[in-house]
């Protein structure tokens, strides 16, 4: 999966036709094969752009950036990235006409060690769902997998689960990097920043980490697209995907196989009402 040449051609063309102000893609760090997101503003920098299996970070996060706000943006999206972009469009955070989206039919990205990322192995929507131009063939049939971590968690007793997550919360340092790197966390004022609130005080205690992470994950329930930006950002390497994958499974099983951001205009499981919603838990 290497679309470096095509993406450079597209970016050059867009700058030449004056269709964009900034192009958001990836470039190499310069000393190894890891990549840094690049916000290209002039056509002379276009040759820096690359795209291959190391292009990991979800770039739709940059749509809430100072450098892209109110500008015409060219953007590279993989399958998961395009789903979060779809949600940003649905939630009126970006305007479609301001974007030129280069979709990728993704074959999976790899982590620092060169292993295919776990979320890519379980990916349901590898090809971009929103795009002006699609690179690669979108023909992969996938089915919903409940991953091993979630199966293990489900097999555990509640007490064991509690013990496990207490350890997670103890190792959280409350830097909120997970929130900042999430493309769908765009609230101008986030509840976990409320310094004066009783539950979410800024202290790094197990209880405040619990409240912050639980609120955050529930706010993303039915919206999380499993791009794992949060996990990559976590300096403590916490298994944050467990929260999101658990929610994803519950929602998939209970809300007509709902997957976040796959369909344009889909407001997400918790934001819509359907006659088919389960109501057997109501007395």
């Amino acid at each position: 999966m290497d679309y470096t040449k095509q993406i450079q051609e597209i970016a050059t063309r867009l700058f030449a036709e004056d269709k964009i102000d900034v192009f958001v893609g990836y470039r190499l760090t310069g000393f190894d094969d890891n990549q840094v997101p690049a916000l290209i503003r002039e056509s002379k920098d276009v040759p820096l752009l690359v795209f291959n299996q190391k292009s990991v970070f979800n770039l739709s996060n940059y749509l809430k950036n100072d450098h892209t706000r109110n500008k015409r943006v060219g953007l590279v999206v993989k399958g998961c990235d395009s789903r979060s972009l779809n949600l940003l469009l649905t939630e009126s955070q970006v305007k479609r006409e301001k974007l030129y989206v280069v979709g990728i039919a993704c074959e999976g990205v790899v982590d620092d060690a060169g292993q295919k990322m776990q979320n890519c192995l379980e990916c349901m929507v590898p090809a971009a769902v929103v795009y002006d131009e699609l690179l690669g063939e979108a023909n992969m049939e996938r089915r919903f997998i409940i991953n091993a971590d979630i199966q293990d968690m489900a097999a555990k007793e509640l007490v064991q689960r509690r013990e496990y997550f207490e350890e997670v919360f103890e190792n959280c340092i409350r830097c909120n990097a997970c929130r900042h790197s999430c493309p769908l966390c765009y609230c101008a004022k986030c509840c976990i920043d409320q310094e004066t609130a009783t539950l979410y005080n800024g202290a790094n205690t197990t209880s405040s980490a619990f409240h912050a992470l639980m609120t955050w994950s529930l706010h993303l329930a039915g919206r999380c697209v499993d791009c794992r930006n949060c996990e990559k950002a976590c300096p403590s390497h916490l298994p944050l995907h467990l929260f999101h994958k658990w929610n994803e499974r519950v929602i998939y099983e209970n809300f007509q196989e709902h997957l976040a951001g796959v369909h344009e205009g889909d407001r997400g499981a918790f934001y819509k009402y359907s006659m088919q919603d389960p109501d057997d838990f109501i007395m």
């Binding site: 990549q35 996060n61 100072d66 450098h67 409350r174 900042h180 790094n204 950002a233 390497h237």
Partner: protein, 347 residues
């Protein structure tokens, strides 16, 4: 003060660690979720004193905790009673093993801030009660650049005991301070093979030469300091900060960042006041009551961080605030390298 050097081997070093852990309240890097953090250990198998820098959190929280209770209060009808917390941050002597040079250097930097216009007594007592046992790295990691900064990696006085894995297969345990000598004589080692400084010195030098040759990153900090101090208004800051996601991780993992915020945890009428880490990359870091924010744009916050590290701190205390450990770079979700950025800006 006589400086002593104990010469031993790998097995002797393991025994040394075991004796330390058995006799002292010992903190060492403990692995959890693939990342090492300094925690209280009961035996050597729990920890890895030679954990890699990139995967290890700084030991800073042992001196400047991620969250410290600074007071508690009870609101009554007659007014508010304020009292000390029952948490004693200064209890007992303790030992830290597995700290690297950069981490030890960071303590020297923090010492200056916390003994400046206001003396932070909690910090000071934590420092006095701690014996720092530091290991010199054998090889530089990808993002290390400690030898390019304004401190002498070879002779650092923040550590009490220095451990060097010599290229000759021997391990040199060297006391670096009074505290260190006292500690080495406290029965943690039964080794009698002690050599003079001159005899050990040569091997330590050789190890240092090999270590300093392994650096990928090298720069001239003086020209960086000078250039940065003149380019406050350069638009280049906007370019280099464009891909930062303001996630604050860099400040939270940094061994020298020392900004904090104050927050309360309150239940009904009683509350505890906490002092916790904060980051200048946060949009609300400079937000004032009334709504004015002097650093509203991301590039300004970014510039503040870079300038504080390499210009402002230097102007006030004569040193760089960066120790070159590369922790910010390895933790960055988008792989931004502080080394690369400051060099690009001051080009």
């Amino acid at each position: 003060m006589s400086v002593e050097t104990i010469v031993t081997d790998k097995a002797g070093l393991q025994k040394f660690y075991e004796a330390i852990i058995a006799k002292n309240e010992t903190y060492a890097p403990v692995e959890k979720f693939g990342k090492y953090d300094f925690k209280l250990v009961k035996n050597l198998s729990e920890c890895d004193p030679e954990s890699p820098i990139a995967k290890t959190m700084s030991a800073k929280p042992l001196f400047f905790p991620r969250s410290a209770k600074i007071m508690k209060y009870v609101a009554t009808s007659a007014g508010t009673d304020v009292s000390e917390t029952d948490e004693d941050p200064l209890a007992g002597k303790r030992v830290i093993v597995g700290m690297k040079h950069c981490d030890a250097r960071a303590l020297q930097v923090l010492d200056k801030v916390y003994n400046w216009d206001f003396i932070d007594t909690d910090y000071q007592k934590r420092r006095l009660n701690t014996v720092v046992i530091s290991t010199r790295c054998d090889k530089a990691e990808t993002h290390c650049f400690c030898t390019s900064l304004d401190y002498d990696v070879e002779n650092l006085d923040a550590m009490d005991v220095l451990i060097v894995n010599g290229n000759d297969g021997k391990v040199y345990i060297k006391s670096k301070s009074e505290k260190g000598i006292e500690f080495l004589n406290s029965g943690v080692t039964s080794h009698t093979s002690r050599v003079t400084e001159e005899a050990a010195g040569e091997e330590l030098k050789k190890q240092y030469t090999a270590f300093s040759a392994s650096f990928r990153l090298k720069m001239d900090y003086k020209s960086i300091n000078e250039k940065l101090s003149k380019i406050f208004d350069t638009p280049e800051f906007e370019n280099v900060s464009s891909n930062c996601v303001s996630c604050n991780t860099c400040a939270f993992v940094c061994p020298t960042c020392h900004c904090f915020k104050i927050s309360d945890e309150k239940v009904k009428d009683t509350g505890v006041r906490y002092k916790s880490y904060d980051s200048c990359n946060n949009g609300y870091f400079t937000l004032m009551a009334g709504g004015h924010n002097p650093r509203p744009a991301k590039y300004r916050r970014w510039r503040q961080r870079a300038m504080h590290k390499f210009v402002y701190y230097k102007e006030r205390f004569g040193e760089n605030l960066c120790v070159g450990c590369g922790k910010c770079t390895t933790s960055c979700p988008v792989n931004i390298s502080i080394f690369e950025v400051i060099n690009q800006v001051s080009k």
